[in-house]
């Protein structure tokens, strides 16, 4: 009895440690046998305690920054607006060239009966917090189960991929970043088309594994998603190769710098729907450069045959009458508005016109006349 009293502290310490080790062993065992870990109640409580405060702080920060930029700090806006208009004109012409390339690719894909994946819905989310640990590279976003977020959804930014949804709570979700050591993404090199697995390292770097050492990989080459992991659709930008060195065994040690700045994430897009369909040749023909140029000429009258009656099946919007000589421009605006890399990458990959019209705030042509364009839709934030 006296011994128990004397070593009371030590006995309690051993007991508490034993209980935790036992709990840890159970978790490891569950993960090994089921390959997925159920969300613990303690996580729900902890996230429920911390994230409301994070959301409130982020809201205050974003509101302050928005108020500053929208109402007070307007210096240089006019010049910026002029530059942006010029940029839009340049990009419109560029789009024509690219759409012709895309049409050709689609025709070839149709001939080969390729199936293609494209992002049809995304949801914008604000990053509100992190795990706070170097050994767990994950962030929390302000969208959760009530917003339709599910585990294993891809998370991207305009610059490149970010990670995947790991745990989903009522109004928040945890996103595992691609530089975490437990993360794995199917990837391929843009030019050489070599495939590998993108993994994070304990120090937070990203490497491309499983590329044979007899291959030649130049530094600076772009790394894209291969679509093989079932999370990310094919063709999204991952980053660039920064260093190539001989690795262990038969594989190269390829270091990749992620295109998205994973240390300074503020807003991300959660890919809530990926559709797959067989490629079809474009029946409408490519847009001509002269059509695009006509948009810049105010004197060119609208074509009467393009007029779409409001309420007619396939009409993009009730006000889409004639489209005021803007053939094929609206879907491009829709994809540009999304600001996702996919919108650029899958240009011409095709999408339902319904999706495209949902996004476009401006009158567009009848659905039958609109060229298939990538649809990346932002749900209301």
């Amino acid at each position: 009895m006296d011994v128990l009293g004397r070593y009371r502290n030590l006995i309690v310490l051993v007991g508490v440690l034993f209980a935790q080790i036992l709990g840890l062993a159970v978790q490891v065992n569950v993960k090994r046998t089921t390959d997925s870990e159920p969300t613990r109640l303690i996580r729900v409580w902890a996230v429920g305690m911390v994230t409301p405060l994070e959301k409130a702080l982020v809201w205050v920060q974003v509101s302050t920054v928005n108020a500053w930029h929208d109402y007070f700090y307007l210096r240089g806006v006019r010049a910026e607006n002029r530059d942006l208009k010029q940029q839009i004109e340049r990009m419109s012409l560029e789009r024509v060239r690219m759409s012709q390339d895309a049409d050709q690719a689609r025709r070839l894909q149709a001939l080969l009966a390729f199936k293609e994946q494209f992002i049809s819905e995304t949801m914008a989310a604000q990053v509100i917090g992190s795990s706070g640990s170097e050994l767990s590279r994950s962030v929390y976003i302000d969208k959760g189960e009530r917003d339709g977020i599910k585990p294993d959804m891809a998370v991207i930014t305009a610059d490149g991929i970010v990670g995947k949804v790991l745990h989903v709570y009522h109004s928040t979700s945890q996103v595992l970043l691609i530089d975490d050591q437990t993360s794995g993404v199917g990837a391929l090199l843009d030019k050489t088309r070599l495939q590998g697995i993108l993994r994070g390292t304990p120090s937070g770097e990203v490497t491309l594994e499983k590329v044979m050492s007899d291959e030649t990989v130049p530094a600076g080459e772009q790394v894209l998603t291969s679509g093989g992991d079932g999370v990310f659709p094919k063709g999204l930008l991952v980053g660039r190769v920064t260093k190539v060195a001989p690795g262990s065994e038969l594989f190269l040690n390829i270091r990749v710098r992620p295109a998205a700045d994973l240390n300074r994430l503020e807003e991300v897009l959660v890919v809530t729907r990926i559709d797959e369909r067989q490629a079809e040749p474009d029946q409408t023909g490519a847009a001509r450069a002269v059509d695009i140029l006509a948009l810049r000429l105010p004197g060119v009258p609208s074509k009467p045959e393009n007029t779409v009656q409001a309420g007619e099946p396939g009409a993009a919007a009730p006000s889409a009458t004639g489209s005021d000589a803007k053939p094929k421009a609206a879907p491009a605006e829709a994809s540009a508005a999304s600001g996702t890399p996919t919108a650029k990458k899958t240009a011409g990959a095709g999408a339902t016109t319904t999706d495209a019209t949902k996004v476009s705030p401006k009158p567009v042509k009848a659905a039958a006349d609109v060229k298939p364009q990538p649809a990346v839709e932002d749900s209301p934030h």
Binding site: N9, L24, I42, V50, S131, S133, H167, Q181
Partner: protein, 172 residues
């Protein structure tokens, strides 16, 4: 140097009010999760660890120290995607050790606190890595330069945290 060996009767024991006991660890875990988004370098700090050491050395009660460390650690674990218990076990050991050492040593001076934080930071990392690799099977790399600079950075921040805790602790 300010580390002096004292008897149990000589050292002063402090306590914290209930709001401080609850809110300070919560604030530490919250800041640890929120600040790295704005200041990425902040991930090298372990604010919950510093609070664990600060509470344990002030209270000088091993039981209180180990339970405080255990709860703070588990809360920290819950925000990561790793198994629950990795930080819990590490901080339980640190909480127990810091309070046990607090009985023996006078840790009221800046130099003593600096060295104490360095020591317990290393203990924390060693226990964490051992558990993570040995029990959880995680592939973790130990980097001496990184650990060295993290250790120094945490010790410096620890001195400031202890000064803040001095303001809210009450003599028993």
């Amino acid at each position: 140097m300010a580390i002096t060996y004292t008897s149990g009767e000589q050292v002063e024991v402090y306590r914290f009010s209930i709001p401080a006991t609850v809110l300070i660890p919560l604030a530490a875990v919250f800041l640890q999760a929120w600040l790295p988004l704005r200041f990425p370098f902040f991930t090298i700090f372990d604010l919950p660890l510093l609070v664990t050491i600060g509470f344990a050395t002030a209270r000088r009660s091993p039981l209180s120290g180990l339970f405080t460390g255990c709860l703070i650690g588990i809360l920290q674990d819950a925000l990561t995607h790793q198994h629950i218990g990795l930080y819990g076990i590490s901080k339980t050991v640190v909480g127990f050790g810091a309070s046990s050492l607090g009985i023996k040593l006078d840790v009221e001076h800046v130099g003593a606190r600096f060295l104490l934080t360095i020591f317990f930071y290393v203990v924390h990392e060693v226990v964490y890595f051992t558990i993570a690799r040995g029990l959880a099977g995680l592939h973790m790399a130990w980097s001496w330069p990184h650990e060295f600079w993290s250790c120094i950075a945490n010790a410096l921040l620890g001195v400031l945290v202890f000064m803040l805790l001095d303001r809210v602790k009450q003599r028993t």
